[in-house]
């Protein structure tokens, strides 16, 4: 078998945009694919946000009246939303610390930070599960009119993305423990960190919409 004269050397490593060793410019396939995926995800969540705004704008009051209890829906019963939000924002920092650590070749700091990020992601999902249980016990379900549908669709799809991100972080952690990443070879770490930041930004928007945006009173009240 003839030797491949174009075999990859460490210097031929596909570039990650923005890194000091990327003198040729360009962008790695992994990061390119993740950026294109995130672009499509932006429009996916844009559709969900648009539907939420449309339903909210056309409702006589928001949150609407719960037909079963006769009172307006309320989300103040969720004690874990605030801490979960703080944790998710914190996880973006630890994820970025992991990226910076592997860029400078500090594998110990990389593994520590990516491990913490993974743990926070799983904790967030557990907290969201507890919140869902509380809502169900209050009678707020996916079939509770437009409010329940939009709330569970928005937070549920975000939770599914966090779940996907946690799996990616788990794979990166496993590969990191196996010594597969270095300061020159860590495209997967860069790509997963981009995705995790995206999931974090979406949650900040969701949290602002669902919990901070003031409600709408019925006309004339």
């Amino acid at each position: 078998m003839a030797s491949d004269s174009r075999a990859m050397t460490p210097q031929d490593h596909s570039p990650v945009a923005g890194l000091a060793h990327d003198e040729r410019g360009g962008i790695s396939n992994v990061v390119l694919g993740m950026l294109l995926f995130i672009t499509s995800e932006v429009m996916f969540f844009a559709g969900l946000f648009a539907a939420y705004f449309n339903v909210r704008a056309n409702a006589p009051q928001w949150p609407p009246i719960n037909a079963e209890t006769g009172e307006a829906f309320h989300l103040e019963i969720l004690p874990l939303v605030g801490p979960a939000t703080v944790l998710l924002i914190l996880s973006s920092f630890t994820c970025q610390f992991a990226v910076w650590a592997i860029r400078r070749g500090d594998r110990t700091a990389f593994l520590r930070n990516i491990g913490v990020t993974f743990a926070i992601g799983v904790t967030f999902l557990i907290m969201q599960g507890i919140d869902y249980t509380l809502l169900y016990s209050e009678g707020i379900t996916l079939s509770s009119g437009t409010f329940g549908t939009t709330y569970f669709t928005l937070t549920g799809f975000h939770g599914a993305h966090v779940f996907g991100g946690a799996i990616m972080l788990g794979v990166v952690l496993y590969r990191g423990l196996a010594g597969q990443f270095s300061s020159r070879h860590h495209d997967a770490v860069e790509a997963v960190s981009l995705y995790w930041h995206f999931v974090d930004v979406v949650w900040i928007l969701l949290f602002s919409l669902l919990y901070l945006l003031p409600g709408k009173s019925p006309a004339g009240v």
């Binding site: 945009a17 923005g18 003198e23 040729r24 410019g25 360009g26 962008i27 390119l32 950026l35 294109l36 995130i38 672009t39 499509s40 932006v42 429009m43 969540f45 844009a46 559709g47 946000f49 648009a50 539907a51 705004f53 449309n54 704008a57």
Partner: protein, 64 residues
């Protein structure tokens, strides 16, 4: 590298698209139409998506 090829210029491309969303909302607001809030939301976030796409095109091009 040509200054126009700087990846940060992708933000400007995205802002141009979002600006169309602002104009779309402003026209409805001034004309006292019922606001198409879904359309405005989609146009504004299209700016974000296009910004990332522009970044991919700019940063993904080799320097040579």
């Amino acid at each position: 590298m040509h200054p126009l090829r700087h990846p940060r210029n992708a933000i400007i491309v995205g802002l141009m698209f979002s600006f169309i969303g602002v104009v779309y909302w402003f026209v409805q607001y001034r004309a006292n139409f019922q606001t198409d809030i879904a359309g405005v939301t989609l146009l504004l976030l299209l700016g974000v998506a296009v910004s990332i796409m522009a970044y991919v095109l700019i940063a993904g091009s080799p320097n040579d």
